[in-house]
């Protein structure tokens, strides 16, 4: 590792539940350092009581997302040098989710909305049936593939102002997964999905502000998926099926 050039002042949100404040720590600055490295340094060497969440450290598991200088990011793949313009680094828990302690949020509401959006598999066959053919070049399959690499990090959920303003809004990730399954040849729940996503809190709440697509670390496009759901739901409505 490079030798430390200087010290960086890092403001970190500390507190339980709603109540808390920013506390400043001096952390050695390295050329190659991720935001998660900074948080880990504080927990290892300065204050072991700091709570935060991570697992894979390579952008796979989706557990390390936080607000970094006011923007939602996966911290394990965010270089400090990339975000520190004026030498300030401010790390806070992910927006739009209840805080448990320090940097750890309660992600239950986020995952509960996946289920509410029927973004769960509705099986179309049993073990006795032949496997459904999944053709990679099929138009439907391409739509399903577009959103399949979601790592459930809730970065999009934290970026979305519609989520902030409407507690019932299912949010970009859940709606995108619903759209993925809607286009999956193996899913038997198309109608169930459309009914779930077109009610109160459903896809029609989206204002196409595109925060989700702007911030998604996997470079997915939930805004496009939601536009797809809006079209599918409206078509079904016009056909009298909704």
């Amino acid at each position: 590792m490079n030798s430390p050039i200087k010290t960086r002042h890092v403001a970190v949100w500390r507190g339980e539940g709603e109540i808390g404040h920013f506390e400043t720590y001096d952390v050695p600055a390295y050329d190659n350092q991720t935001v998660l490295d900074v948080v880990s340094h504080i927990q290892h060497y300065i204050d072991p009581s700091l709570s935060y969440r991570f697992a894979c450290r390579v952008g796979m598991c989706g557990s390390c997302a936080m607000m970094v200088n006011g923007e939602p990011r996966w911290t394990c793949r965010t270089h400090v040098n990339k975000v520190v313009g004026q030498d300030v680094l401010e790390i806070a828990p992910l927006r739009n989710l209840p805080v448990i302690k320090d940097l750890a949020t309660n992600m239950d509401p986020f995952f509960e909305k996946w289920v509410k959006a029927e973004a769960v598999h509705h099986s179309s066959s049993s073990r006795d049936d032949d496997m459904t053919a999944v053709l990679p070049n099929d138009a439907e399959r391409k739509k399903a593939d577009a959103g399949i690499e979601c790592i459930n990090c809730a970065v999009c959920y934290a970026a979305c102002d519609t989520v902030a303003g409407n507690a019932d809004y299912l949010g970009p990730a859940a709606l995108q997964r619903a759209w993925t399954l809607y286009n999956d040849a193996r899913d038997a729940g198309k109608q169930t999905i459309l009914e779930a996503v077109s009610g109160v809190g459903g896809c029609h709440n989206c204002h196409a502000q595109g925060g989700c697509s702007h911030y998604c670390p996997s470079e997915l496009n939930p805004m496009q998926a939601i536009a797809g759901l809006k079209q599918a739901a409206t078509r079904a409505l016009l056909k009298g099926k909704l």
């Binding site: 607000m67 006011g70 196409a208 502000q209 595109g210 925060g211 702007h214 797809g228 079209q231």
Partner: protein
């Protein structure tokens, strides 16, 4: 101050759309009331028309044309986004809608000044 997570082009497009929509909603009732004067009180209407000859009023009219144009073109972009096959260039389209609105409102100003 716009908070950091909102500093991206499509959020600004949203902000412009909402602001222009609200300002139009405030302006249009007044606009229709003034037009109604032509039927109900011709003298007051003529007086108002003279008032609109002031340069500063013309400038304000130019602003209104801009608001209307930016709301219409921005609204058409949103409707295309939701109803037509997907186009990836949403930022460019949003910028184009603003450029077109500037063109329309400046052309209007050049006509009336």
């Amino acid at each position: 101050m716009i908070r950091p997570h909102r500093r991206h082009p499509l959020f600004l497009a949203f902000l412009l759309h909402r602001t222009s929509g609200i300002l139009l909603a405030l302006f249009l009732p007044v606009h229709f009331w003034v037009l109604s004067l032509a039927l109900t009180d011709a003298a007051a209407f003529d007086e108002f028309i003279r008032f609109t000859d002031l340069a500063v009023v013309k400038l304000a009219e130019g602003m209104l044309v801009f608001l209307l144009a930016v709301h219409i073109f921005g609204g058409l972009r949103l409707m295309a986004l939701e109803w037509l096959p997907w186009t990836a260039m949403q930022k460019q389209l949003a910028a184009g809608a603003i450029a077109l609105s500037c063109f329309v409102s400046i052309t209007f100003l050049l006509q009336v000044i």
